[in-house]
């Protein structure tokens, strides 16, 4: 039906196509998802990710208004003489005042009820920066966790769980490139440097057809492109890290660059303390990340972007000890380390084929690697000074590496059709756990052996088409189909995934929305439920472990209220199949001869209701979110086949995130979160097995106990001062204001007086922070 529709479009007479780009007047950067609206015809559209829009109109004139959050609204009236009318907009940021030469009005929030897309949230980066954060580190993922339908993992973790899905079911895209591990410092910080991020969009359901490969969410992050007109820099000095970003034109209005880097200095600060406390032993940890981007505009029709990201975490520990015995000296050296990180690159080419057709071609590269190293070396020095050396080393390596290319077409054939179609190819290489052991000595020589899971190679293709179709004045639907194929070790899987979302305008300010999405995921993440460590392994679907699949339906109501308030309520139901889980008792650290022997497959069900009250424009902005949800899992070989609550099954999840502009200089930010405690597995009784005499701690079921509720209140105060050279920004924050001891881990132990007790380990008490940032 969609294909037939596509061929039918040329038959519909259209007189004029107004098209062009919407950009930032100061930086020249494109603005994606800006709302472009013709007041005469009542037709509107949004710019694509690259700032391009196309409006097909039948009248002889148009009054085009363009709005976007954080910018002044702009309006242009044009007479339409020709069939193609180029009309670009340069929006002025709303922090620039009194210098406006054209008539402007402060932008209003885009009407939430008008979009056919549902279950979607776009974050305002400026607001993210003003919210209080752990240790003063702006963190996109921790802000994402505050949205309804999104659960956080353990305390402080950047992992997120959407509508009962696992962390592997989130498609995290940076400039269109999938990222496999989004965390630094064992999950406490995300890899996204806020200074380099331009826009963030989270989709929780009703997925448009262009997205595929994950079951539960799409987090689409776009990095800044670099200022085309002026050199600018910004940076911050925090308690544990510092960062710096510089951007500017290489060729004004043609070529720009951006480089952003961040590094922690926990290792430097802690080194003297560790050395003094451990008598010479050393231990250290740091992470860094670097974003870089170059873009070149050949002309209005061709634009090229080159972007890369590289980040790494490294933990190391070592010691050296000397002992003497019977005239011999024994020198023992020990070194251990863990390092992991992502490398991402993309090359994008925008091509405006004509006023109605836009092509984006992207070549992508992504790699995530994890490496553990242990080395032990012993030197024995005899009384006659002869030496004998021996060593033992063990290394464990796993990684996943993708090369890909994709083509995305935006086609605007008619006033009421916004069509997107395209194709993608990805070549995956999986190295899921290779262990190498080395031993050697002066006398026996060196031996090494490598073993573990075999490398696996896979090819994935995706084809899609979808139409955002305004069927009537009140009814709009986004209809699409995503087709994908996956080939691994001679096994081929194919999948057809229909997608549908629709909205019906009930009144001028409210609408009902519904969606259906069928998703297939060809990758699995071998993950441990109890800790969030970078040891998780990405593995492909195989002939024994089939691709994950899900379907989800959602029904919602959206209402735009006066004063830029909006409210939306959504209910959803999701079923997932072919999920994997470690078998009971399986350790997760060591590689396996075949990981498939360690896992079992099963199903998951999730349903819930989400409420979001939001205000994006005004002195006070932010949102209140509430989720009621239930999520279960069922595996034949776990919990004796009985369904059990998912670890992050959270009945109630409430969040409040607000920023208030106290004055031109001071901004107050506050966050409050409350969530039902995680489902954890605890023994409930002890007994002796009469046949073997074994003392057994009886566990009545997987995730049989609710940890105490999680709640926390954070506040921040941001002071922004204009200086002769730019801006000076101080941020004072307090994390966990009332020092709530939230559960990180529970276990049965002793209360210190000989009585058995339930003990709770908590991580972060009240933590004040201060950071200084600057812009020029």
């Amino acid at each position: 039906m969609l294909i037939c529709g596509l061929f039918a479009f040329p038959l519909w007479a259209q007189n004029h196509t107004v098209n062009g780009y919407v950009t930032d007047s100061q930086s020249g950067e494109s603005i994606g998802f800006a709302y472009v609206y013709d007041a005469y015809s009542g037709r509107g559209t949004r710019t694509n990710d690259y700032g391009f829009y196309s409006l097909s109109l039948t009248s002889d004139s148009a009054k085009i208004t363009t709005t976007y959050i954080g910018y002044y609204q702009q309006e242009k009236t044009v007479t339409l003489f020709e069939s193609d009318v180029d009309l670009d907009f340069e929006l002025i940021p709303d922090n620039v005042i009194d210098e406006i030469l054209i008539e402007v009005n402060s932008a209003e929030a885009p009407p939430v009820h008008e979009e056919s897309q549902m279950s979607t949230v776009r974050l305002d980066i400026a607001q993210v920066r003003n919210l209080p954060v752990l240790l003063g580190e702006t963190d996109l993922l921790k802000t994402i966790q505050l949205l309804p339908g999104v659960q956080s993992g353990s305390e402080g973790s950047s992992g997120f769980y959407v509508r009962g899905g696992g962390p592997d079911q989130n498609l995290v895209l940076v400039d269109g490139v999938p990222v496999y591990n989004v965390s630094h410092l064992f999950g406490f910080f995300s890899i996204f440097n806020g200074d380099a991020v331009k826009s963030v969009e989270l989709i929780k359901g009703g997925f448009p057809a262009e997205y595929g490969g994950r079951l539960s969410s799409v987090l689409d992050i776009r990095m800044k492109e670099g200022n085309m007109r002026e050199f600018h820099g910004e940076g911050a000095i925090g308690l544990i890290s510092s960062k710096f970003t510089i951007e500017g034109p290489i060729w004004e209005d043609r070529t720009s660059f951006l480089v952003s880097a961040r590094r922690t200095y926990i290792d430097v600060l802690a080194a003297p303390l560790i050395a003094s406390a451990t008598d010479g032993a050393n231990a250290g940890y740091y992470f860094y990340d670097v974003n870089a981007k170059v873009n070149h505009r050949f002309n209005d029709d061709h634009h090229l972007y080159l972007s890369m990201y590289n980040g790494r975490d490294e933990f190391s520990a070592g010691s050296e000890e000397e002992t003497r015995y019977d005239g011999f000296r024994y020198i023992e050296k020990f070194n251990a380390g863990i390092d992991w990180g992502n490398t991402i690159g993309s090359l994008r080419w925008n091509w405006r084929l004509n006023s109605k057709l836009f092509l984006n071609t992207t070549a992508t590269y992504t790699r995530y690697r994890f490496n553990v190293l242990n080395e032990f070396e012993e030197t024995v020095i005899a009384p006659d000074d002869t030496e004998v050396n021996s060593f033992f080393g063990a290394e464990y390596l796993s990684d996943i590496e993708d090369y890909g290319i994709r083509w995305d077409f935006d086609w605007f054939p008619a006033p009421n059709h916004d069509i997107k179609f395209g194709a993608a190819y990805i070549n995956h290489t999986f190295r899921p756990g290779i262990s190498t052991l080395r031993t050697g000595s002066d006398t026996a020589g060196e031996n090494s052996i490598s073993f573990g899971s075999n490398n696996q190679y896979a090819n994935e293709i995706q084809l899609y088409a979808r139409d955002d179709w305004e069927i009537t004045d009140r009814l709009k639907a986004n209809i699409g189909l995503h087709a994908s194929g996956f080939n691994v070790n001679g096994e081929t899987y194919t999948s057809l995934q229909p997608r549908l979302s629709a909205r019906y305008l009930v009144t001028e300010s409210s609408s009902i929305k519904a969606s259906y999405a069928n998703m297939t995921q060809f990758l699995h993440l071998l993950t441990n439920q109890t800790t969030g460590l970078p040891t998780d392994l990405w593995v492909p679907a195989t002939d024994r472990v089939r691709p994950q699949q899900s379907w989800q339906v959602a029904l919602g109501y959206a209402h735009s209220l006066p004063h830029n308030f909006s409210v939306s309520v959504e209910g959803y139901y999701k079923e997932m199949s072919n999920l994997i889980e470690y078998r009971e008792g399986a350790g997760f650290f060591l590689g396996s001869q075949d990981w498939q022997d360690k896992v079992t497959t099963g199903n998951g069900t999730s349903y819930g209701v989400e409420l979001l009250i939001e205000r994006k424009v005004g002195k006070t902005t932010g949102w209140i979110g509430y989720t009621w949800s239930r999520s279960t899992r069922q595996f034949d070989e776990v919990n004796f086949g009985n369904p059990y609550p998912y670890t992050y099954d959270r009945r109630h999840d409430f969040s409040l995130a607000l920023t208030h502009k106290l004055s031109d200089r001071w901004t107050l930010g506050t966050v409050f979160v409350y969530g039902t405690g995680n489902a954890v597995t605890l023994p409930t009784a002890r007994y002796i097995d009469p046949s073997t005499g074994t003392l057994i701690e009886h566990v009545s079921g997987r995730n049989n106990y609710r940890a105490p509720a999680y709640h926390r209140w954070d506040i921040s105060l941001t002071h922004t001062k204009e200086t002769s050279w730019g801006e000076s920004i101080w941020q004072f924050g307090v994390y966990n204001v009332y020092s709530r001891q939230n559960p990180f881990y529970l276990y049965f132990g002793s209360d210190g007086q000989g009585n058995r007790s339930l003990n709770q380990v908590s991580l972060f008490p009240i933590l004040p922070s201060v950071s200084w940032a600057f812009k020029f």
């Binding site: 441990n528 439920q529 007994y687 380990v761 972060f764």
Partner: protein, 306 residues
Amino acid sequence: MKKLIFPILAIGLVSCETVIDYDGELSEPMIVTAPISLQDDRPRYEGQFGFTPSSSLQEIGLTYSIDILDNGYPQQLDNALVQVREKDGSWFQFDEMISGYYRTNGFQFEEGKTYEYRASRSGYETVNAEFEIPNHVEITDAKFVREVGFDSLSFEDGYSEYEITFTDPGGDQFYSISCILVDQNDTLQGSYYVTSSSPFANAISDGEYYAYFSELYSDNALYRGEEVTIPVRVMNLRGEDPPQNLKLAFVLRTHDIHSYRYHSSLQRYQYSGGSGDPFSQPVLVYTNFEGGLGYVGGFSTHLWTE
């Protein structure tokens, strides 16, 4: 690796540890049941895996559970009423011989039949369950395959590999295999630890290493109704001939589902060191009682000797 990770988590992150209230109902004391075999009137190589038709002497051990916060230690349960019967038949009562040890002489289990069990005592919820005595399955061949020496790099023990062949009768079947030494009268004289990397066996494996136990468990999900050959590694046999007058033997036990689930989960529990830590998945030890713990189940054996 655990030694490495714990300090990492500890560095500057663990703020405090507190005792918190247990927010839930603490477990009431429950009757814990397991068939045992203390007397010598049946072959010792059979082991304690439930009720078996090889003897008319039946034994039950009872203990009781305590809640997880109880500072005491669980003990034997005395003065209980313990009964067994063929399904829908007449109850047959066990006698308490010493505290927690119950016995009956003269009740003969038969292969292929279903039985019911119940135990009650004042202050405890009565427990009852149904179980079966499965038909035994015979090993048709046990063949020596190869000898593998100690691996100095991975520190894996040396082993002798045998191939055990038998024909699965179909339906849901549950097995365990043991390797033992017997004398000329087939009396148990010693046993070996066994494991297998075969997908037909459910050996516990944590990485490259396949754990050795006295029993190797397997269900027939991958060979239902077919002849199957399972390679079995026998630890440290090193191709040495058995001591004089002794011979190597393999025991194939056919378990009912309850015996199988209880003992295989108990083995996994013992291997993983308990009910879980942050670095391994928690293990649930099976029970087929509502309101009780432990199990009743049945099994049959076949002994193959060289």
